[in-house]
C-alpha cells in the first residue's frame, strides 16, 4: 500500500478529459471570469504604477509602472492558479464529488489530479496573457521577446497549481486556504520582487525570497518584457520546473492518500 501511494504518477492523455470538463464549465462564464481575474491585478498595476510611480522617476532603468507590469504578470498568474487549484479544485473534489464520479469511469486519480493541475495552469496562462496584453496596449512592453514569457507563465502556473492542489488534498475545509494565502501567497507578493527590487530587503529576507518560485518567475519576466535575456535563466527555469514537478507529484500522493483509502 505504501509503495502504491508513492509510485510515480502516470502521465496519460486522459488528463485532457478532466481539462476539457473544466474548460466547458469555464466557457459558460468566460467573459466575467476573465474580467474578474483581470480587475484585481489591473487596479494594483495602474493604481500603484501611475500613482506611486509619479513619485519615483525610475526604477532600475524602467518607469515604475513598467517595472510593476512584469511583477503583475507573475503575481496574477500565481493568484489564478492558486485560486483555481484550491477553491475550485476543492469544490470539485470534496463538495460536488466530481472527482469521485470521474473515478468510476476508466480514468485514474493520477489523470484527475494532473488534469486539474494542467487546467489551473492553463487558466493562469490566460490571466498572465491578459495582463501582458494590457501592458502591451499601454506601451509597457518593449520587445517581442515578451512572447517567450508565455511558456514561462504556464510553467509558473503549473508550479502554483501543484502547490495549491497539495493544500486541496490536505484540507478538511475551505477555511484552511486562508492560512495558505496569509502564510505563503502574501509573503511571496512582498519578498519576490513584484513591487520593488529584492535587493532592498535585508539579507535574510532575500535568502528566503530566493527559495520561492515567484522570485524566479519575476526574475525571468522583467528582463524578457524589456528586451533582455535574463541573467541566470537556466537556474530560474530549473527552480520553476522543480516546484512544478515536486508540487504535482506530492499533490497526487496526498490525493491518493485521501481518496483511494
Amino acid at each position: 500500500m505504501a509503495a502504491n501511494l508513492y509510485r510515480i504518477p502516470q502521465l496519460s492523455g486522459r488528463l485532457l478529459h478532466v481539462w476539457r470538463r473544466n474548460g466547458l464549465v469555464w466557457r459558460k462564464l468566460a467573459i466575467p471570469s476573465m474580467l474578474g481575474n483581470l480587475a484585481d491585478p489591473m487596479l494594483y498595476m495602474l493604481g500603484l504604477g501611475y500613482g506611486l510611480g509619479a513619485l519615483m522617476p525610475e526604477m532600475r532603468g524602467l518607469s515604475y509602472v513598467a517595472f510593476l507590469a512584469a511583477g503583475t504578470v507573475c503575481s496574477s498568474t500565481m493568484m489564478t492558479a492558486s485560486f483555481e487549484a484550491m477553491y475550485s479544485g476543492f469544490s470539485r473534489m470534496h463538495v460536488q464529488k466530481t472527482w469521485e464520479a470521474i473515478l468510476n469511469a476508466p480514468v485514474t486519480l493520477d489523470d484527475v489530479v494532473l488534469g486539474e493541475a494542467v487546467w489551473a495552469a492553463s487558466k493562469a496562462l490566460l490571466s498572465g496573457m491578459a495582463v501582458l496584453f494590457v501592458a502591451a496596449a499601454l506601451g509597457l512592453v518593449h520587445s517581442p521577446l515578451a512572447l517567450s514569457l508565455l511558456p514561462i507563465v504556464f510553467l509558473t502556473g503549473l508550479a502554483f497549481a501543484g502547490m495549491g492542489l497539495i493544500m486541496t488534498s490536505l484540507s478538511p475545509s475551505y477555511d484552511f486556504f486562508m492560512y495558505y494565502f496569509t502564510l505563503v501567497i502574501t509573503p511571496m507578493m512582498l519578498v519576490c520582487g513584484v513591487f520593488f527590487p529584492r535587493d532592498q530587503l535585508p539579507d535574510w529576507l532575500q535568502a528566503y525570497g530566493a527559495a520561492l518560485p515567484l522570485t524566479h518567475a519575476v526574475a525571468l519576466a522583467r528582463p524578457l518584457m524589456n528586451g533582455a535575456i535574463p541573467d541566470g535563466m537556466p537556474g530560474h527555469l530549473l527552480v520553476l520546473v522543480a516546484y512544478a514537478i515536486v508540487g504535482c507529484y506530492l499533490a497526487v500522493v496526498f490525493a491518493r492518500r485521501r481518496l483511494l483509502k
Binding site: L24, K97, V107, L260
Partner: protein
C-alpha cells in the same frame, strides 16, 4: 467464469477489518443483492471491486480482468450508480451525459447518437436542458442511472439505488432495473431495503461485520433460516403475554420495546390465544426477508 469473481477479499482500516474474507460470484444476467446493516462493509466491497482502493488480501476478477491491476480497463465495461448523487452541478442534464461519455473516450457524435435513448430511459426527454439543481430526487437518481449506462456496460454496480426516494420514484427505478436485466445486463446492488432485494434479486448475500453470513435465492434464504409464520403482537401487556403464553406457543419469541415477534411453523394456537386477549392487537403474516435479516444480524442499532 462469472462476470465478477471475488475470493477471500480482505480490507482493514487500522484495527478494524471492514471486509473480512468475502467470496462472491456473479453469473451473467443475474441481479445480485448485497444486504447488510450500516457499516457491514458493502460499499467498501464495491470500491474494492472497482479498484478504487487496494485490498489487503484476496483476489478479484471482473469481466476477465484482474483487479486492482487492470481495474481501469475493466471499468470501461462497468456502470456505477453511487450512493450519493455526484451529478455535475455545473452542467445540464444533457451535458452531464455527454461529459460523462467523454471520460470513456467517446467522441461527441457517438454520445449524441446514444443521447435520445438515454434521456428516454431516464424519462428526462423534456428536461434535457434543465439544470441539475432543478431536478427532483427521483429525477437525479434516474439521470445517475442513465449516466451509468453511457458506455453500454455489461455489469452495473448500484450502491443503495433507492435510498431517500418516495415510493413512486422507487418503483420506477425498479422497473428500469428489470428492463436492464431483460437486456441481459448483470447487476450488483447493495441495499438495506428488504422488499427491494426480494423483488429484484435472483441471488442475495447478507453481509455483517465484513463477512457474508448467509447466501442464496431470496425464497431459499427464508426457507432455510427462519420459521415460516410470524405473529407480531402489539399493545400494553404484550410483554407479559409473551412471557406467559408466547414463549410456549412459538418456536422463537422476540421482544423489542412494545412489540413481540413470534416465529412458528403453525400460527393457529397463537392466533386463537390472542383472539381471547382484547387488549392486544396482532398481525399474522408469512415470514419475509426482513425477519431473516434481523435474525441473522440482530436488532441493535448499527451506526
Amino acid at each position: 467464469m462469472g462476470e465478477l469473481e471475488v475470493r477471500g477479499l480482505r480490507k482493514r482500516y487500522g484495527d478494524r477489518e471492514v471486509v473480512a474474507g468475502v467470496d462472491l460470484t456473479l453469473q451473467p444476467g443475474v441481479c445480485f443483492g448485497l444486504l447488510g446493516p450500516n457499516g457491514a462493509g458493502k460499499t467498501t466491497t464495491l470500491r474494492l471491486c472497482l479498484g478504487l482502493t487496494d485490498p489487503d488480501g484476496g483476489e478479484i476478477t471482473m469481466l476477465g480482468h484482474r483487479i486492482p491491476q487492470d481495474a481501469r480497463t475493466a471499468r470501461a465495461r462497468i456502470g456505477v450508480v453511487p450512493q450519493m448523487d455526484n451529478l455535475d452541478p455545473d452542467f445540464s442534464v444533457r451535458e452531464n451525459l455527454v461529459v460523462y461519455g467523454r471520460y470513456f473516450g467517446y467522441a461527441k457524435a457517438e454520445i449524441e447518437r446514444r443521447l435520445p435513448s438515454l434521456l428516454e430511459f431516464a424519462g428526462l426527454n423534456a428536461r434535457a436542458d434543465a439544470k441539475i439543481q432543478t431536478l427532483s430526487g427521483g429525477m437525479k437518481r434516474r439521470l445517475t442511472l442513465a449516466r451509468a449506462l453511457v458506455n453500454d456496460p455489461d455489469l452495473i454496480f448500484l450502491d443503495e439505488p433507492t435510498t431517500g426516494l418516495d415510493p413512486q420514484a422507487r418503483h420506477l427505478i425498479w422497473e428500469r432495473l428489470r428492463q436492464l436485466l431483460g437486456q441481459g445486463k448483470t447487476i450488483l446492488l447493495t441495499t438495506h431495503f428488504m422488499d427491494e432485494a426480494e423483488r429484484l434479486c435472483h441471488e442475495l448475500a447478507i453481509m455483517d461485520r465484513g463477512r457474508i453470513i448467509a447466501h442464496g435465492a431470496p425464497r431459499t434464504l427464508i426457507e432455510r433460516n427462519i420459521e415460516p409464520q410470524v405473529v407480531e403482537v402489539y399493545g400494553d401487556g404484550a410483554e407479559s403475554w409473551a412471557d406467559a403464553r408466547g414463549m410456549q406457543l412459538s418456536e422463537r419469541c422476540e421482544k423489542t420495546g412494545e412489540t413481540v415477534f413470534c416465529y412458528t411453523a403453525d400460527a393457529q394456537p397463537i392466533v386463537q390465544d390472542l383472539d381471547r386477549q382484547p387488549a392486544l392487537r396482532y398481525l399474522h403474516r408469512p415470514a419475509n426477508l426482513e425477519d431473516v435479516f434481523l435474525k441473522l444480524t440482530g436488532r441493535e442499532l448499527r451506526d
